[in-house]
Every structure is written in C-alpha cells, then in structure tokens.
C-alpha cells in the first residue's frame, strides 16, 4: 500500500470516527463523505444511515417525553380545578360535618395532584423521590387542617434516593394523607404534638412508619369494627400495593406499612 493511500485511509477513518462521536453526543448534523465504492465508503454509508435512524428515534423519544409531560400537567390542572370547585362549594356550607367531608375529599385530590405535579417536573417523568413528596404533602395538609393555635411539628426520617413510580406514589400519597389527617383530627385535642414519618428500604420491603404522640385510640377501639372511611382506605390502598398494615396504639398511634419490592 503506497504512503498516499495509507494517509488517505487514515484521514477517512478519522472522519468516520468524528461523525460517530458526534452521534454519541446526539449531534446528527454531520455525515461522512461517500465518494466511491470502497470498503470505507460502505462503512461511512452505514454510519450515515445509523445516524438517520438514531436521529429519528431521538426526536420521537423527545416528542413522547413532551407529550407525557403535557399529560401530567393537564391531569394535575384538572385535579386542581376539582379541588378549587370543592373549595368554592365549601364556602356556602355551614354544617361542620359536610364541611369536613369536603376538606377530606379536597385533600385526597390534592395528594394525587401533587404526584402529577412532581412527575412532570422530574427528570425522567416516571419516578419521584418520596422524601420530597412527603414533605410537600405534609405542608399541604398542615395548611389545610391546622388551626390558628396549632403547634403540630413534623419530623422526617426518610432514606435518601427512594424513588417510586406513579403506581406506587398515588396509593402511598393517599395512605399518608389519611394517616396525617387522622392525627390532626383525633390525636391532639390541645392542638399540640409531633408527627414522625420514616421510610427505609430493607432487604425485602420498604417500611413506612407514621406515628404521632397524641392521645391514641379510644379505649376498646376496634380497627375492624370502628373504622371510618379513612382507615378503610388505608387498608385498601396498602392491599393494592400488596402491602401490610400494622397499627400500634402505645404512646400515640403508630402505623407501619410494609410494601414488598
């Protein structure tokens, strides 16, 4: 092989390599030159076609991501409209029982809207970090249920980097909403106390613990017999996650939810 041909081939190999590296950086503007019918032309043509396919797949993926973002945004907006309508409705209601029902419903809707809001803001649109979610949800419930003289403090002990998809987040959010709301409603007659939320990832399951240091259940309280809708929801939603609920009524009420991986 003469020196000229060798140099020319080295240049062409370098050119093909440059184009491959551009594609690796998702820059599909470059193409290799195809000037004849030799092996390097064939490799160059293959690289060019691969670039076209990658570019089309990348565009399609970006469009899908945009669409998914839009869907989460719209679902969240629609849920917020329902929540606002309930808010408006509540202004005309004087009966505390009905007012409480509306606030409970609104908070349930808000817990789901928050999942969609956090999903469309998340990096991969499919998972959200539960630690951030729990803190924001708790603030929302506090804003909704706390009274003027309330002094209920939240303690969070949630393992970093625990991400869940929407199928887990919606039930988990609703479960948390019910437990925290129950603490607000029943645990603190003097409107003072602590709510601690913990979540860790063990070998077999995720363990979420929510406990308050309130007055606990009434004597002779039977979970099966005396449960309200909120309590029934906790069990139903845990079942949806193939999880288990354990309740402890010592030094306040403590719920432990075990969710298998």
């Amino acid at each position: 092989m003469s020196s000229n041909i060798k140099d020319n081939n080295s240049e062409r190999v370098q050119e093909i390599l440059d184009v491959i590296m551009s594609y690796a950086r998702f820059d599909f503007s470059k193409k290799t030159s195809v000037i004849g019918n030799e092996t390097l032309d064939a490799i160059g043509a293959g690289v060019n076609m691969l670039g076209e396919e990658l570019e089309t797949s990348t565009i399609s993926l970006k469009e899908k991501e945009q669409l998914l973002k839009e869907i989460h945004h719209r679902v969240k907006n629609n849920l917020q409209i329902v929540s606002s309508l309930l808010n408006l409705q509540s202004e005309n209601i004087l009966d505390k029982r009905y007012l409480d029902l509306i606030i409970e419903s609104r908070n349930r809707i808000n817990s789901m809207a928050l999942v969609h809001e956090m999903l469309y803001s998340s990096k991969d649109l499919s998972k959200i970090e539960i630690g951030h979610y729990v803190e924001r949800l708790s603030k929302g419930i506090e804003h909704s249920l706390s009274k003027n003289d309330s002094s209920v403090k939240f303690n969070f002990n949630i393992e970093d980097g625990l991400f869940f998809d929407i199928d887990h987040m919606i039930p988990l959010g609703l479960i948390l909403n019910e437990i925290i709301s129950n603490s607000y409603k029943y645990a603190f007659p003097a409107n003072k106390g602590n709510i601690t939320i913990e979540m860790i990832n063990t070998e077999q399951f995720y363990r979420m613990t929510v406990k308050d240091n309130g007055v606990g259940f009434k004597p002779n309280f039977d979970v099966k017999r005396d449960s309200n809708l909120g309590m029934q929801l906790i069990y139903m939603l845990a079942e949806q996650l193939d999880g288990k609920v354990e309740i402890n009524n010592e030094l306040g009420v403590s719920y432990q939810i075990l969710i298998p991986h």
Partner: protein, 133 residues
C-alpha cells in the same frame, strides 16, 4: 458481471430505469452512484405501478450502483402503509456499499411484502418467479 441492461422502451427517471420483463417480473435499475431521496423513491414507485394496471407482480431491483438512500426513501420502499402492486421484491447487491445499504434497508425497514437480497441475478429471478401471479 452486470447483465441487467435496460431495454430501449424502459422508463428513464432521474436515478432509475424501470421496465417490465417478458417473464412478468418488473425491473428497476439504479444509475451509477445514485443518491436516492424520498422524491426519487416516490417517482420510481409511480413508474413501477404503471407497468401493469390490472395485476400485481414481483420486482427485481438492481442496486449494485447505488451510492446512498435516505431514511424516508428506505421507509417508502418498505411499502408499509401504502398501496402497492408489488407481490415481492429482490434487491441485487454486489459492492460493499450496496451490501451495506441493502442490509440496512432489509434489517431495519422490514418490508411489508416478501423481500430478499441477492448477489446473483439468476437466483434472484428464480426466487421472484414464485410470486408471478
């Protein structure tokens, strides 16, 4: 050895010749160093479809001289989602370049009708004869 020479009555397009063989198999041949965009692909399909009005037929494509075929053209030739008179097609490849383009087309576009690559014209015609209606 290239034997697929277009006859005098072949339809000449910008980068193709297209004609119907006496054996009921249509032929289309790319011009030397043909760069095929979707425009040329559509032009070629229209010419091929005009060869017989009332029946379907197989097609032999001589792509041995091809230089490039853009993605939309590859997609068009796959015949997905469009009416076609083609019952099957064989693509003749020989040079490294035509082999790469042919394999890329077959591997990624998965034509909607039976399709195969050949480097021998006789083998290609024998295979296509099965699809003459």
């Amino acid at each position: 050895m290239e034997t697929l020479d277009p006859p005098k009555n072949a339809i000449e397009l910008s980068v193709f010749w297209t004609w119907m063989g006496e054996d009921g198999i249509a032929r289309t041949k790319t011009k030397p160093l043909a760069e095929i965009t979707v425009k040329e692909a559509i032009e070629n399909s229209a010419a091929v479809s005009s060869l017989f009005v009332d029946r379907k037929f197989p097609l032999l494509i001589d792509a041995r001289n091809i230089k490039s075929m853009e993605r939309d053209a590859r997609s068009h030739f796959s015949t997905h989602g469009r009416e076609t008179k083609i019952t099957s097609f064989a693509v003749m490849v020989k040079s490294p370049l035509s082999r790469v383009i042919g394999n890329f087309f077959m591997g990624l576009n998965k034509p909607a009708v039976p399709a195969r690559l050949f480097d021998d014209e006789t083998d290609a015609i024998n295979w296509l004869k099965k699809y003459v209606l």
